[in-house]
């Protein structure tokens, strides 16, 4: 573009009161700048676009534009049986599939009023807490990377890899696991897996200290997290936030304590709660939650050893509830027994009929409250399924939390929620 043309477009010519004889003298003016951030920005964790209205480098308004990953999961749910939806839940929050499976099967069990055996409850708790550790490791690595500290990323991903390999040995997949089943779990932990996990529980707590060494005294990390993305407890509750973003503001809302499920009320653990409501407090909460998860897993593994003493056909010691009209037979029975094969075939092709009614079941995933609201009209498919995704609801507070911060802090604020767009857009 020629230089002269460019000047003409961007300058306002007005009469200058000091030099009225020279009407063409330019007067400087300021205006808000609109900046599109994303959807291909590496720090937006997938495909999120934000339209930022800027005054200099300060954010005046931030409008999230979502839906780039919308796949219509809620519509798909209306056209599949209850069992068939489990693999879809893996694809919601694709970094933490286990917890989505867990939240979904818990909702269906509440709808059909199914009690899960004790052993299955403990197995579920162990795997869910491992998934929570993975989620927090992933968050820490990427958040530090977004804020310019690359080393932490390598350390957290090194330790996360061990757990993903463990998942692979457990269910054959690292990320899209589908290990939870309605009424129980797909298979039991092998002795080798229990041993690997016990070793990991000894190995991991010093590693949390190692991550903290990189960050606690890092002036850049402190400057970019302390006092950034502050939200008051009242606002956070009003926005419906949950998980570490809410607990960072000093509210101890944790569904594992408020409405205990699985084995969470049978083990000793604490809910870490912050005070300042900033990113640093949320970081601290996630670090403490990893330590609490280690405690929970250790107690659950100990309890599994007690359960091992029981006879294998004891009702407490089963990994799947006994209600053949709903729960799947074990794989070895399917391959050797005709009746069980028919049962499996019927459950997957026809499904089971759920009673008429509606339920909401919330589960404390590591991002926040992941809930499923299921309306059943008595058919084998849900009439309507609503997924309460924490990432989506946290994005509702994004504009409120961004106001007045710098552009670079917008990256911190995405990160502080731990958004995953698969879950946000569904």
């Amino acid at each position: 573009m020629p230089q002269g043309l460019h000047d003409q477009r961007n300058t306002v010519y007005r009469i200058n009161p000091k030099h009225p004889e020279d009407p063409a003298l330019p007067v400087l003016r300021t205006e808000e700048l609109m900046l599109n951030m994303g959807p291909q920005h590496p720090a937006t964790h997938g495909v999120l676009k934000v339209v930022l209205d800027l005054e200099g480098e300060r954010i005046v308004q931030a409008t999230p534009v979502m839906g780039y990953l919308h796949r219509g999961v809620e519509k798909l749910a209306e056209h599949g049986t209850y069992h068939q939806f489990i693999p879809h839940t893996d694809r919601l929050d694709y970094v933490c599939a286990m917890y989505n499976n867990f939240a979904y099967v818990r909702a269906v069990e509440k709808l059909i009023d199914l009690q899960v055996p004790e052993r299955a409850e403990y197995l579920r708790t162990i795997v869910a807490e491992i998934q929570r550790i993975i989620g927090h490791q992933f968050w820490l690595g990427t958040q530090a990377l977004d804020l310019g500290a690359m080393t932490v990323f390598f350390y957290t991903f090194r330790d996360r890899e061990i757990l993903l390999d463990w998942f692979e040995q457990l269910c054959g997949a690292r990320l899209t696991t589908s290990w939870y089943r309605i009424g129980g779990v797909e298979r039991d932990l092998s002795p080798a897996l229990v041993e690997t996990m016990s070793d990991y529980l000894d190995y991991f707590p010093p590693k949390i200290d190692e991550y903290m060494i990189f960050l606690e005294k890092n002036r850049i990390w402190l400057a970019r997290t302390k006092g950034v993305a502050v939200i008051s407890a009242e606002d956070a509750i009003s926005f419906g936030m949950s998980g570490p973003p809410l607990r960072g503001s000093g509210v101890d809302y944790d569904l594992r304590k408020y409405e205990p499920y699985a084995a969470y009320d049978k083990v000793e653990w604490k809910v870490p709660v912050g005070t300042n409501g900033d990113t640093y407090d949320r970081y601290w909460i996630r670090m403490e939650e990893m330590r609490e998860s280690v405690k929970i897993i250790r107690q659950c593994l100990d309890h599994l050893k007690e359960l091992d003493q029981l006879p294998t056909d004891d009702s407490r010691n089963q990994i799947m509830a006994k209600r053949p009209s709903v729960t799947l037979p074990t794989k070895d029975r399917v391959f050797t027994n005709l009746e069980n094969m028919i049962q499996q075939f019927k459950l997957f092709s026809e499904g089971f009929k759920a009673p008429k009614g509606e339920i909401y079941c919330g589960t404390e995933a590591h991002k926040g409250e992941l809930g499923f609201y299921i309306v059943s009209d008595g058919d084998s498919r849900p009439y309507r399924m609503k997924i309460r995704a924490p990432s989506f609801i946290h994005m509702g507070a994004f504009d409120h939390m961004c106001k007045g911060y710098m552009i670079s802090d917008a990256v911190t604020i995405f990160g502080t929620y731990d958004v995953v767009m698969g879950e946000c857009d569904r």
Partner: protein, 164 residues
């Protein structure tokens, strides 16, 4: 009767249609005109103290005279109880008062309901589509009459002698 139900029943005898308890959850069906007033009461009353909004959903019942059902599920963090408030709107006039002035989180949740089911929330500060593009022409996908299988460019071709 659940204490929550009793309180709502005594407070709003006219606007309450029914109260259902299922699997330990209380659901109050209310009239559309008074839902905002009831939600305001649930939020402000110190015994209710429903300060946390869980989700806003919608269900389509195409055979009913009042076709769409809007669901607000709220929770009280200080009191630790939850309730579900439901109301119905007809297809000819799918309007409802927005709850954004009570719970700020309702803004995105109501936008999603608008996007997916086509319910208009009055007094909503920014009622636009949220997950689908702003100029999406094909209606509201979570309605039951929206086809599961799309009619795209590929469907315009002949396949094994079958005309499109």
């Amino acid at each position: 009767m659940h204490p929550l139900s009793a309180r709502i029943k005594s407070q709003f005898p006219q606007s309450l249609v029914s109260i259902v308890a299922y699997r330990g959850e209380v659901t109050a069906n209310v009239k559309r005109e008074s839902i905002h007033e009831i939600c305001r009461f649930l939020h402000d009353d110190p015994e209710m103290a429903f300060n946390y909004i869980v989700h806003v959903s919608s269900v389509d019942w195409p055979n009913d005279s009042e076709r769409f059902e809007i669901i607000y599920e709220v929770y009280s963090i200080p009191k630790r109880h939850r309730i579900r408030i439901k109301t119905r709107v007809p297809e000819s006039d799918p309007h409802l008062d927005s709850m954004v002035d009570i719970w700020k989180g309702a803004e995105f949740m109501e936008r999603e309901v608008f996007d997916m089911m086509g319910i208009h929330f009055d007094n909503h500060p920014d009622l636009r589509r949220i997950l689908l593009p702003d100029d999406y022409p094909e209606g509201y996908p979570l309605r039951k009459d929206f086809p599961l299988q799309g009619k795209g460019w590929r469907d315009t071709f002949e396949f094994l002698g079958e005309k499109p």
